[in-house]
Each structure stands twice: as structure tokens, then as C-alpha cells.
Symmetry: none
Subunit: 236 residues, 2 copies
Amino acid sequence: MFIWYNKYTRLENDMDKDLLGIKVVRKVILLVSTGQFKQGQKLPAERMLCEKLGVSRGTLRQGLADLQSLGVIKIVPRSGIYIKKYSEKKLPQKVLPPNFKDVSLEDIINARKIIEIPSIELACKKGTKEDIKVLGNTIVKMENTVDDLPEFLQYDMNFHQMIVAMSKNLVLVTAFEAISDYLKYSQVYSSIHEGEEEKALNYHRKIFNAIRDKNAKQGGKLLEQHLEEIVKSYKF
Amino acid sequence: MFIWYNKYTRLENDMDKDLLGIKVVRKVILLVSTGQFKQGQKLPAERMLCEKLGVSRGTLRQGLADLQSLGVIKIVPRSGIYIKKYSEKKLPQKVLPPNFKDVSLEDIINARKIIEIPSIELACKKGTKEDIKVLGNTIVKMENTVDDLPEFLQYDMNFHQMIVAMSKNLVLVTAFEAISDYLKYSQVYSSIHEGEEEKALNYHRKIFNAIRDKNAKQGGKLLEQHLEEIVKSYKF
DNA sequence: TATTCTGGTTCATTAATTATACCAGATATT
DNA sequence: AATATCTGGTATAATTAATGAACCAGAATA
């Protein structure tokens, strides 16, 4: 039989053999960059973080030390661990999707419609009361931050991510996460016009109500309108 | 300052602490399912695979033992390691990538429907004659490889990727790419039984015709049926 | 015939990670 | 004011994963 392997044959070795500490670093950076940990915020105590992340304290502390030297966190003895301000932290540069220039706002909105509208239907089916409660809290948070645009947009994003998560379909969540960079991009452009926060907020309220009432059709319709508005406000 | 963490706070721990052996298993399965290793084929010698995959021989052999008990390979002393024909055996959860434990075949198929059906509509609108020609070539390649399952599945996958690409929406393509690992595994997962290639091929032919004739509705309907069949064949 | 290849096996070593325990200052509770 | 509990800081023993090197015996090759 033929042998077509030799020592130069490439099999793309990526066995992912990083130390656990590094993975802790990445995880925390992810949590910070997605706004789940906010600047100035106090992190859970080490012993609790261990449990949450599923590593031992020694390993965790190794990762935390790296994060401190990166300027992402500040560890204060006998007090806690704090996320440092954005201005001071040197987060690795966010890498945008490769062919970023070839994407239009219409494409982004289209893709969002395609993924999010069916997600609403699933969310109505599979969402728990707890889910709906959390979703409602996000609405409240949006109301409380109408004057703080960046934070408002963060909650806006959270709202939509939450809907997809409520579908309980991890494949869908993965797909949506993969395009979240594009969404942020679209937010930047759609948020140019101030004063539209109330309008957006209103849509979110209605969408929330529809999901709470298990009215998938209505929810989908509202979401479609909401996304259409984004395109319109950009075009003008 | 307020403390809003307690032991029930979810931080989504996925520190990816699987043994290297399992990762070897996953890697090889991926190589098989993408047609880079074909059935009956002889794998590189263990000592070379170690180098390629970047693991020690002991670790590699641990993974190979698992692969053999899964029926994916056959190890022949003093001869070599061979890829077996697909067994009926389903892949146990532990060999699936970390996230897979929370994913069902239904989830995968659902997500595919959600993304691919609207893609067909866009493909009918935006696909060029060149695109359709390439898509047609893929059909031919599938016809030529009905007896070589891994290669057949490779073209099957290509066909679907191509449709999404024809939407000319890079955001959608990104989302679809992000879940392609799920799709590849699902192919092994659902392990097409003999004789079903023709059926699948037939669906692809019809879908191709629909797209060529710019009949989006028909195309979507066919695709939905095709994906339904996958679920059915697994359930039984 | 001699060499080189194959998978099969064993074992000592290294490194990563865990699990415990204790410290001392800060904070909250009683 | 006294006490209990929380915080990060530190040290250490035990466990486990993974490596690397050696050697075997049958088979293929030169």
C-alpha cells in the first residue's frame, strides 16, 4: 500500500495544551470585555471564583497574578479583587472579523433577523419564568441608563443575547456569539443619532411583553420592526 | 459596596480540562469526518502521529485505544492503524467537544434550518451564474463519491456551505462557519446508513434545481425535508 | 542477511493541579 | 467591646497527567 505521509505532512496540531492559569486569564478577560464584569467592580472572592471556574485556588491565583500584571485587575490584600478602569487596562486588541469591510449594515440586520426572530419563537416555548424575570431586569437596567449611552447599548446587546440564549439551543447561541462583533459594529453606526434611546427602549418593552405572554408571532413582528428602524436611522 | 455574588451565581465554567487523550480522539474523528482520513486508509505510524499532534506516545496510544473501542480505527500489530468503515456506534458524550454535552441533534438541525432556509432565499436573489455552476459541480462530485462515504460527506457539507456563501452575506457566513464543527460531528453522530446516500443525493439535486430556477420557496421546502430526514434516520 | 519499520510494553521523571492548612488584617455581627 | 467571619497571602504534601526513553518481537525491505 502507498504511504503518503512523511515528516513534512501537515496535520495542523492544535492540541490546546495551555496551562489552566492562562485559560483563567482568557476567561476573565472575556467576562470583562463583554461587560459581565464592569470597571471598578469587585470580583467574587477567590474561594468562590475557584468554584465557579472549576479550578483550584493555586491555579486561580496564578491566573489572577497574570491579569494583574496585564493591568486588568488590581488585587487588594484583605479587601478583594477589582476590575481596573478601561483607561488603565491594556486589553489585547480586539480582532475584528477578517473581511470586515465587505459587510454592510443591511447584511448585519438581515443576519440578525434570520437568527433572532426564530429565537423568539423558541424562547417563548423554552424560556423559564426565571429567564423572563432576568429579561425584565434588563429592561429596568436600560431604563436606568438611558443617559449613559455606552452602558445603555451594553444592556441593549444583553437583551438580544438573552433572547437567543432562551432558545436553549447552544448551536444557535454559538452562531449568534460569532457575529457579536458585527453587532457591536452596527450599534456604533445606529447610535449616531441621540434621542432614539426612548424609541428603542419602547420596542424592547413590547418585545419583552410579547415573550412574557408567549406571543411568538407578535414578538417576531416587533423585533423585525425594531431592526428595520436601525437601518432607517442609519440611512438618514 | 454591594456584593451581588453568591454561590448560585453562574459564570459558565468551561475551563476545558479534558485529558489530552480525549483531545486526540476528537482530533482524529474530526479528520475522519472531514475526509482527510478516508475509510480503509492507513494512518501515519504512531511515532509520526505523536510529532504531528504534538503529544507523547503514551498519550497518543491512550487516545487510539479509545478510538478503537469506538470502532473508528483498527490497530494491527506490526502493520499499522487503519480507518474502519463507519460503525453504527454513536459517539459517547465524553468524546464530543466540551459544549456538545448540552447539544442535541435536534438543536443542530434546528439551527441549520434557521440559518440555511433563509440563505436559500438570498442565494436565489444574489447567486451568480458562476455560483450555480460551482454548486452544480459539487453535485457531480457527490455522484462520483457515493461509495466513499467520508468524501461524500465532505461534498455534502460543501454544498450547504456554498448555499450560505451564495447569500453574499458575510455575517451569515460567519455564523454558519462558527457552528460547522457541530455539523461535522453531527455527520458522524448520525452516521448515515448504507443506501441513504442516494436519498441524500436526490435531495441535493432537487435543491440545486430549485436554486437554479430561482424558486426560493421550493428550495426552502426541500431543504427542510432533507434536514428532517437526518433527524429521522438517527432516531431509528 | 542485516536493517529498518511496525505496534506493544514498562518505568522513571517532570510538571501541573489539587487539597489542606494556617496566617493576619479587615469587616460584620452580637 | 468581644467575637465570628470574611479577605487575600503563603506553604506544603499528595495526586495526577504527560513525557521521554528504553526495549521487545514480528514483519517488511534493501
